[in-house]
């Protein structure tokens, strides 16, 4: 604690590069690692428990069912994970505000059903127009939920519960339209192919390499710019480790998906779902981390009154977040419907709630202001792994549901405990 005597009076002009020895951030690797370890001990565990948990379940499943780590199953798992992950992205928008949206699952169903309807007779709209109509409907539904929450100051839990129930009914009505008998089969090969078709292996190779190299260059450039500007930076070794981790993930994806996994013929390549959800991840993360809008969302979730006093419009920012949640849910519905080759009213009732679960298990706080899109990716992968593995071992949906319930409870308990520990330290 240093209290300096006030200096001689001088005008508060533009900062003229003052000397700041005391503020320079110690950036050696050993210090950084020590501080990180301290943070973990202090309760700021980040995604560590989740990664450990994921490692454990992967080992258990592989011991119980040797097919678990087969290329075929892993590619299948990735497909199943894709819409859980995307629904998780949707949920992150509202969770960051400190709100919740229970209806994203059925909102997704509406997008999928509308897409199927519009691409079939008698409408026969082009596939991309059908997708846009589905997405627009979901975005509007999200906006409506937001409007009720914001204008009438209703708890989002109740509003979205009402939409959950009502949207389910609307979904059943849509799939019963025009003499459809409870299901609308996709006829467009493009729409089915979104999830069911794979990128040609060469194209997959090029896309993954381009993404990894591009992301690495951007990361390193950013690191250098921050250093040049005198901003606080993490040790370069950590940046390098991130780049390596990204490269490893890309290589693993190619290794699993570009190998032939067909039993009766050649099946190879990365499903289109992967670049789709990775694209959403990059776009939404960018919005959240690099724009004023994203900053406002975090501020509102952290302390709405502070944000309001700072001149942030609470209503508009929240409305946009709810709308983006709806839009993202729609994207999840497009993937889900594509994976199933059509739309029905029989969406797995658990699936519609996995959105909330994946974001929360991934580490997004239920109380607002803390979490990233990336967390929904990890949480979604975790849930899909359990979803897939339990069935593969030979247990039924009942066990599946119980296990995921227990995992969710464990996830929020770990968060609560670490929060308490953080508060104490």
């Amino acid at each position: 604690m240093s209290i300096e005597a006030p200096g001689p009076p001088r005008p508060l002009a533009a900062p003229s590069e003052p000397e700041l020895e005391t503020l320079v951030f110690d950036e050696t690797l050993s210090t950084y690692l020590r501080q990180t370890l301290q943070k973990i001990r202090g309760g700021q565990t980040g995604v560590l428990p989740l990664l450990v948990g994921l490692g454990i379940v992967v080992i258990v499943f592989q011991l119980k069912a040797s097919l678990f780590l087969s290329n075929q199953n892993l590619a299948n798992l990735l497909t199943q994970a894709s819409f859980i992950i995307v629904l998780g992205f949707a949920e992150v928008w509202v969770l960051l505000l400190g709100e919740i949206d229970l209806s994203v699952g059925y909102n997704a169903g509406i997008a999928g059903a509308l897409m199927a309807l519009m691409s079939s007779a008698p409408y026969n709209l082009p596939w991309f127009v059908a997708i846009l109509i589905g997405l627009a409907a979901s975005a509007i539904i999200g906006m409506l939920i937001g409007a009720f929450v914001i204008l009438l100051r209703l708890p989002s839990f109740i509003v979205s519960l009402a939409f959950y129930l009502a949207l389910y009914g609307v979904l059943l009505k849509i799939v019963a339209l025009d003499n459809y008998n409870g299901s609308i089969t996709l006829s467009s090969s493009k729409l089915i192919g979104l999830v069911q078709a794979n990128l040609p292996t060469t194209a997959g190779l090029i896309v993954v390499i381009a993404a990894v190299v591009g992301a690495s260059i951007l990361t390193v450039l950013r690191d250098r710019r921050r250093r040049a500007s005198g901003s606080e930076v993490v040790p370069f070794a950590i940046t390098a480790a991130k780049v390596l981790g990204l490269a490893a993930a890309g290589a693993l994806l190619l290794f699993v998906c570009n190998a032939n996994r067909g039993v009766f013929g050649i099946v190879e390549g990365i499903t289109y779902a992967v670049p789709i959800f990775m694209g959403i991840l990059v776009l939404w993360s960018f919005l959240l981390a690099r724009t004023r809008f994203g900053r406002n969302i975090y501020a509102i979730g952290g302390n709405a009154e502070a944000a309001r006093r700072a001149g942030v419009s609470l209503g508009w920012n929240r409305l946009w977040a709810f709308t983006l949640a709806g839009l993202t849910a729609g994207a999840g519905g497009v993937l889900y419907t594509s994976a199933n080759g059509g739309a029905t009213g029989n969406i797995d009732t658990n699936l519609v709630l996995y959105a909330v679960a994946s974001a929360v298990i991934g580490g997004v706080s239920l109380f607002g202001g803390r979490g990233k899109m990336f967390h929904a990716l990890l949480g979604g992968l975790f849930i899909a792994t359990i979803y897939n593995g339990i069935l593969l071992i030979g247990y039924d949906a009942a066990v599946q549901s119980i296990v995921i319930g227990v995992v969710l409870l464990a996830g929020v308990s770990v968060e609560a405990l670490s929060r308490r520990r953080q508060a104490r330290s």
């Binding site: 604690m1 240093s2 209290i3 300096e4 005597a5 006030p6 200096g7 001689p8 009076p9 001088r10 005008p11 508060l12 900062p15 003229s16 590069e17 003052p18 000397e19 700041l20 005391t22 503020l23 951030f25 710019r225 921050r226 500007s229 005198g230 901003s231 606080e232 690099r290 724009t291 004023r292 900053r295 975090y298 501020a299 979730g301 952290g302 302390n303 009154e305 502070a306 944000a307 006093r309 700072a310 001149g311 942030v312 607002g368 202001g369 803390r370």
Partner: protein, 246 residues
């Protein structure tokens, strides 16, 4: 004269929260506003901050008659209020909090490097040297440090009058000293400070001028040298000086 109130009154129905208040706040001086609970300190602050409109009376900013209808008007004039609850977002870091609502952009994106430089510069100018990193979350800061961040935010936005509402109420001894030093630094930089405080020790150690509210009336004001803590206590509790002022 930075800010002058002339005959300012504020009524809530039959309750006269402020009656005919004359107050001057000078640039580069710390003006302490003291008074018992319910004396009208908060009402006065909120009137200057634009939260409430005076029922009658005039407000002059740099000798120009003005009206402060909204907090945004106060902001535009250069009046910043640092409230007791500080209005910081715990989940954001120091830089993010200091620029909240006024982020610097480059190609429409957040210019983190420029904001970090400016935030660090302002903290250094205010001799706030106890924070380890400007990228740590505000949740991890001490009460005095949070106060410093809130003040730095006001200063960075070119505030010419900083109103501080009970800045030391929740702080320990060393933290209080830190905040008082900060208040002194502000005044030495030519900024007018209106300090609302219950703590006469603080008032007498940092203020240049003192103004006493009693039941909505400004009963005494003047140079702090003309008062002693005992006399101020007497004015606060009785509204007058029983002993003849010398």
């Amino acid at each position: 004269m930075l800010l002058s109130l002339r005959g300012v009154s504020k009524s809530f129905g039959a309750v006269h929260a402020l009656q005919d208040v004359d107050l001057d706040v000078l640039a580069g001086k710390v003006t302490a506003l003291v008074g018992d609970n319910g004396a009208g300190k908060s009402t006065l602050v909120k009137t200057v901050a634009g939260t409430w409109q005076p029922t009658s009376g005039e407000i002059f900013w740099k000798d120009q008659r003005t009206s402060i209808r909204t907090p945004r008007d106060a902001d535009a004039l250069g009046i910043a209020t640092v409230y007791q609850d500080l209005a910081l977002c715990d989940n954001l870091d120091i830089v993010q909090n200091m620029f909240l609502g006024h982020e610097r952009l480059r190609f429409r994106l957040l210019d983190e490097n420029a904001m970090e430089r400016a935030a660090r510069g302002t903290l250094a100018e205010l001799s706030v040297t106890t924070v380890r990193s400007v990228r740590q979350l505000v949740a991890s800061l001490s009460g005095g440090q949070r106060q410093s961040v809130a003040v730095a935010r006001a200063v960075m936005r070119d505030a010419q009058l900083v109103i501080m509402d009970e800045p030391t109420a929740a702080l320990g001894v060393s933290q209080t000293a830190q905040v008082l030093a900060l208040i002194r630094t502000l005044a030495d930089r030519g900024i007018g400070v209106l300090l609302i405080s219950h703590n006469l020790n603080d008032v007498f150690s940092v203020a240049d001028r003192i103004a006493v509210l009693y039941l909505g009336r400004l009963v005494h004001s003047g140079d702090v040298a003309g008062y002693t803590p005992q006399r101020v206590v007497e004015i606060i509790t009785t509204g007058t000086l029983a002993t003849a002022a010398t």
